[in-house]
Amino acid sequence: MSADQDGANLLEVRGLTKIFGTLTACDHVDLNIAKGEIHALLGENGAGKSTLVKMLFGSLEPNSGEIFWNGQAVRITSPGTAKKLGIGMVFQHFSLFEALTAAENIALSLDDGSPISTIAAKARALSYSYGLPLDPLSLVGDLSVGERQRIEIIRCLLQTPQLIILDEPTSVLTPQEADKLFETLERLRSEGKSILYISHRLEEVKRICDRATVLRHGKVVGHCNPRQETASSLARMMVGNEVQAVVRAPAEGIETAPVLLQIRELTRKPATPFSIPLRNINLEVRAGEVIGIAGVAGNGQGEFFESVSGEVLQEDTGSVRIRGKDAGGLAITGRRLMGAAFVPEERLGHGAAPRMRLSENLLLSRHATDGKMFVGAGGMVKSDAIYTAAQRIIKAMDVRKSAPDPEAAALSGGNLQKFIVGRELDRRPSVLVVNQPTWGVDAGAAAHIRQALIELARSGSAVLVISQDLDELFEISDAITVMHNGELSKPLPIAEATFEKIGLLMGGAEPGHAEHTLETA
């Protein structure tokens, strides 16, 4: 609508380049943002979106290129400079202080020196006027991810910026919270503010953005009006070729299949003051099916994964059973020996040791289960056998790498994730528990991983997937359950599940209550 006020560019970027070592993260990027438009920056993970934005906000210095603000050439040397110009940023993560209150967090980014109580009152008023209610005196560590994002938005708005940059803002929101955010953004646009909206979710870009700039491998590959494109045409621009669609063959005879993973009345006290207790969780995963656990980040998924994988042992016997046997007192190796496999959320430092080679990482997680194959007499490691197995996994998962057996840290996030998932799949485990299987993975690799998970289930294993990505869960799951505040809802068969139902559960509505509101709506 207001995008046609051309000639009045608020921000112009010409030939911006950033080089990290041998990698050109941004390669002569051009970008124009008009006054009063919502401009989408599209691209896969690793396309250079974050790098570009960090240069606009002054936290990275470009190697070359120019930035014009209201027609004037500017150098943005620090976030402070960016704020003075009128650029505000809502970060994807890592910019709030957990041990401080919301008001203190807001005060830190304002330079006016007014007392905290004044800022708290201002923040409260502004938050209610935008329909993003906020208690300024609450401690950030106690808040949900969605509430934290409100703080970031209010903090940004209090600086009265001309340009607001939002980095993947909906990745941590329920669908309903996202709707609320879109209303706020449309209101800001009508107030004449410009918004740079970074996302890889095509539907929402089509819905709210006036123009889009698409990045691929650090280069601008196109500009378009997202409203005139289809999701698949946008995806093609982002990825560069067609993404193989994931095929989910109907699951048959699940009802009579044996339960391979059973969680019964699992309860866990909070380990730290800011972590979530688990309350009476019940779940059964049968041979042949994929169960998805949805939920906003930080609702106990991490704690649940630790309990199931054996990183934390259970006090009550029988609360975690693998293939019918109690596993609650066994640590992770014991549970692996029972036929289970686990893929944690954090790739580096948890899923893999960063400075060790891929083959060594393979040995680390499978030395017990594949002891005969990998470890010889007297505990000597059979390097050749491990190397061969690593190469097999690399081939099966199409892991792209620069050396035959590189260190884990040398791989890109997506490729390392393919290796880590492949390492567990290669064992043909009868139970697989995966936390965020495709977080930060490009579309092609994500499709590959998802297909592999479905195939593992169809070959007779029980697969449990914890994910924040609803699209992903709808693509691969036979039933979806939602974790909210340490509680797990009843699994909803995929045929009955809708985004709206799941979204309400993610927001904390009672299952019965959710259906009730749907009927009245």
Binding site: F94, L108, L139
Partner: protein
């Protein structure tokens, strides 16, 4: 009566250097830097203070020299850990070792020399009030500085915007950097403040406590100050409480030993440490509060990516 007052006065004298060094370190750690060199900075302050007082004949110049010595010595730590991003633990330990050795060398000629003592600040008239008079109005100047410093640090950290910024850096330096806060600048100033405090604490030892130079005269007080900060869960008033509990039990057990009560002296000597730890652990058993006050980025080097 007089004995009680005298005992109370010695308790204050024993607690003051611990309090000052610990308050300085508290500010440093609140900014997210762990400086294990307190002992080294303290002993440098002690030798610098004694030397300057001895050579000029003025204990006040000695006091200034002690503060400057601690600050300059801490600058070495700041350059290493903040500008060059070295490991804070290793650098702090070597600072202590360097300080102990260097002070011994610098002070070799001062051993056995009579030093200058800072005069007590007697408020005329008020000192004559029974009991509290001498306790409140007849002490050495550094005692007053230590109390004022504690109050000032409390006010600064929890009531001012700059204090809030400092705490935020300790909580997450990456977030602070993203907001445009000069992380390194704040940390430099904090470390230098901590060094100045440690120097002042050392000066108290060689200009008030025992006005002479003895090699290694800090005798582990820097380490006690470090421990106090942690056990006090980074809260100034708890540091004050901890320092005085330590001082009180320390003096108490000295008197107990003098009376010859039938308890092994080794056990008595260990009492101050035990009592302080027990009391402070009891005070800080609220896990949530402790969590909120613990600087989450403590000890992590910060290197902004450019």
């Amino acid at each position: 009566m007089d004995i009680t007052v005298n005992i109370l006065l010695t308790i204050a004298t024993a607690a003051t250097p611990l309090l000052i060094a610990a308050i300085g370190e508290l500010v440093v750690e609140r900014s997210g830097v762990l400086n294990l060199g307190v002992e080294g900075m303290m002993i440098m302050g002690a030798v610098g203070g004694f030397g300057a007082g001895y050579l000029t004949g003025s204990p006040w110049i000695g006091l200034l020299a002690a503060i400057t010595m601690g600050a300059v010595f801490s600058l070495l730590f700041a350059v290493m850990t903040l500008s060059l991003a070295t490991n804070q633990v290793a650098t702090g330990l070597s600072l202590t070792l360097l300080g102990l050795g260097l002070s011994g060398m610098m002070g070799a000629n001062f051993v056995g020399q009579p030093g200058e003592r800072l005069p007590n600040l007697d408020v005329p008239g008020l000192t004559a009030i029974p009991v509290v008079g001498r306790l409140l109005f007849g002490q050495d100047p550094i005692f007053y500085i230590s109390i004022a410093l504690t109050a000032a640090v409390m006010w600064f950290l929890f009531k001012t915007r700059t204090g809030l910024t400092l705490r935020s850096i300790g909580d997450s330096h990456a977030s602070a950097h993203a907001l445009g806060i000069h992380v390194i600048r704040y940390r430099y100033l904090s470390v230098i403040f901590g060094g100045a405090c440690a120097g002042l604490a050392g000066g108290h030892l060689s200009l008030v406590y025992t006005p002479q130079w003895v090699e290694n005269m800090t005798a582990g007080r820097g380490w006690i100050a470090l421990a106090l900060v942690v056990f006090a869960s980074w809260r100034p008033w708890r540091v004050l409480a901890g320092a005085y509990i330590f001082g009180a039990v320390w003096i108490g057990q000295l008197h107990a030993q003098a009376f010859g009560i039938p308890v092994p002296s080794q056990l008595l000597s260990s009492l101050p440490y035990l009592a302080t730890v027990v009391v402070l652990v009891l005070i800080s058993r609220n896990k949530r509060l402790t969590m909120m006050n613990t600087p989450a980025s403590l000890g992590q080097p910060f290197v902004p990516d450019r």
